[in-house]
């Protein structure tokens, strides 16, 4: 569905090392990706993985060492042709983690600044500022000094300032991470609605996997300056290729296994808990690691006759957290973490049948 849209942002083989470090380790080490028009694309990763540096290179706030960056087909940075278009002439707008709302201006002063920089006629600018404030729900606050706003309101001002320009690409650098949990949840929903409505191509940087999964069309998971895996949220969560992905996004039971038979799309593997039928991707090595997410395992009452992918187990601990119960179940001396909805409550010591759905047993590339 996304594939026939034209590319809006292309990043090719980007490299960047900060010179100040005593032992220079590249912050961005050969990152390439393409964001299509209207797409919501997320760079996800732990702190220090180079996601913000990549974003700042796109914005022109950092100068890469090598690589190419194209915005709507136009080179804004290229080492080969020695192109480096300054930030203010790139067709982008950005929301900073710290909001960066100018404290000496009013709300409308902040929002109209990008239009003044573009020499927009006064009457038109006024209308666009009010429209942008309307979108973020701050129309009544136009004449307030920016310092009299709460954190969430400042965040909205920063958003209004970013969308008023109608730039081709919206760059968002962890815009929700400074908000408290409740407000973050609310802003996340609003951000999702906003993107649906405006359809602006968005490059989003976050370390929060929930945000990335909820908001994005595609997610690039980064570590140590490189993209580890790039796919849709659903594919990254349900069928990750790498152990790092499985562990960073969600939780997983991960253990060694050996492949016995390989069929079209499915594999039979031997492991510590017994024989498991699992999903097999295109590339599956001889020995591998098996991953099952805790919430995909179901527990049933103990019975004698077992079908494939069913195992005898005993609950060794259970923790109640309202919506779910977190169990540790021992199967053949191996501990499995299981998460079940609280509709049925079991207790430690119970004997159970552990069911692993084959389509949710994923073979990882080791």
């Amino acid at each position: 569905m996304t594939d026939n849209r034209p590319p809006m942002l292309e990043v090719r083989d980007l490299h960047k090392t900060y010179e100040s470090r005593r032992t220079p380790r590249p912050a961005v080490d050969g990152v390439s990706f393409t964001v299509r028009a209207g797409e919501f694309f997320t760079l996800l990763g732990p702190s220090g993985c180079g996601k913000t540096t990549t974003l700042r290179c796109v914005a022109g706030l950092e100068t890469p060492e090598s690589g190419t960056i194209l915005i709507d087909g136009m080179e804004v940075y290229s080492r080969d042709s020695r192109t480096q278009i300054p930030t203010n002439r790139r067709d982008i707008s950005m929301v900073f983690q710290s909001y960066a709302v100018w404290p000496h201006m009013t709300v409308s002063g902040n929002v109209s600044f990008p239009l003044e920089a573009m020499n927009t006629p006064h009457a038109e600018a006024r209308k666009r500022v009010m429209d942008a404030l309307e979108v973020v729900g701050l129309a009544d606050f136009a004449d307030r000094p920016a310092t009299q706003l709460s954190g969430g309101q400042q965040q909205r001002v920063a958003f209004a300032r970013a969308i008023v320009k109608n730039a081709k690409i919206l760059l968002l650098d962890e815009p929700l991470s400074n908000l408290d949990a409740q407000l973050r949840e609310q802003m996340r929903t609003e951000l999702h609605a906003l993107h649906k409505r405006l359809g602006t191509t968005t490059l989003y940087v976050t370390h929060d996997q929930d945000e990335a999964l909820r908001l994005s069309d595609r997610v690039a998971l980064m570590r140590d300056g490189s993209i580890i895996e790039l796919d849709t949220p659903r594919a990254l969560y349900l069928s990750p290729d790498k152990e790092f992905t499985a562990r960073f996004i969600g939780q997983g039971n991960i253990w060694d296994c050996a492949i016995r038979e390989l069929h079209e799309g499915a594999a039979v593997v031997d492991s510590k808990i017994g024989t498991v039928i699992a999903m097999a991707g295109a590339l599956t090595p001889k020995s591998s690691r098996l991953m099952v997410r805790p919430e995909h395992i179901s527990l049933q009452s103990s019975r004698q006759n077992l079908s494939p992918n069913e195992y005898h187990g005993q609950i060794v601990s259970s923790a109640f957290s309202g919506r779910t119960l977190d169990y540790v179940v021992v199967v053949n001396d191996m501990e499995l973490r299981v998460q079940s909805p609280s509709v049925e409550i079991r207790s430690a010591g119970d004997y159970v049948t552990v069911v692993l759905p084959p389509e949710r047993c994923v073979l990882l590339l080791s």
């Binding site: 914005a59 022109g60 706030l61 300054p86 930030t87 203010n88 002439r89 982008i92 707008s93 950005m94 900073f96 983690q97 710290s98 960066a100 100018w102 404290p103 000496h104 600044f113 990008p114 920089a117 573009m118 310092t147 920063a158 300032r161 320009k165 760059l171």
Partner: protein
């Protein structure tokens, strides 16, 4: 009494003193030299305290360097400018050590005037000048505190 200095030094210093003694520019120059280093340090600190994102946000909004400086950087350090001005002014206003050797009959600072009046034994007049001087300094210090308060509110 013969001068302890060689004649060339005497001649050039006399020449120099001819330029500077008894003139207003001399006092201004000396007070500038005395007060500028502290002021520059204070301004430097306040510029460093501006979060870099505030200026970067200007760039991503499409503004050129000149516009960012005029519309964002300058207004943000303006209260500190005022504060530095007042602090330097107060220090210069009551300065004696640097100015006392440079004042002439037509260029007398209030602080030096107090000393001269006291030497003449006109203590009432000395007190009057002192009171005026104190009030001016007090008013300026209050103004500075008000400006500082604004800087802090702006964070």
């Amino acid at each position: 009494m013969p001068s302890p200095w060689p004649p060339s030094v005497c001649r050039s210093s006399k020449l120099a003193s001819g330029f500077v003694q008894n003139t207003l520019p001399a006092i201004v120059l000396v007070l500038l030299i005395k007060e500028v280093p502290l002021g520059v340090q204070m301004l430097k600190t306040s510029i460093l305290q501006i979060a870099p994102e505030l200026e970067e946000a200007g760039g991503t909004s499409g503004a050129r360097f000149s516009m960012i400086f005029r519309r964002i950087t300058l207004p943000l350090i303006a209260p500190m400018f005022g504060s530095v001005f007042i602090l330097s002014f107060v220090a210069a206003f009551r300065d004696i050590s640097a100015t006392i050797l440079l004042v002439g009959p037509n260029t007398k600072t209030m602080a030096v005037m107090m000393i001269e009046l006291a030497e003449e034994g006109r203590f009432e007049a000395t007190a009057v000048v002192g009171v005026v001087l104190s009030f001016v300094v007090l008013a300026l210090t209050l103004a500075m505190n008000w400006l500082r308060g604004r800087v802090e509110i702006r964070g």
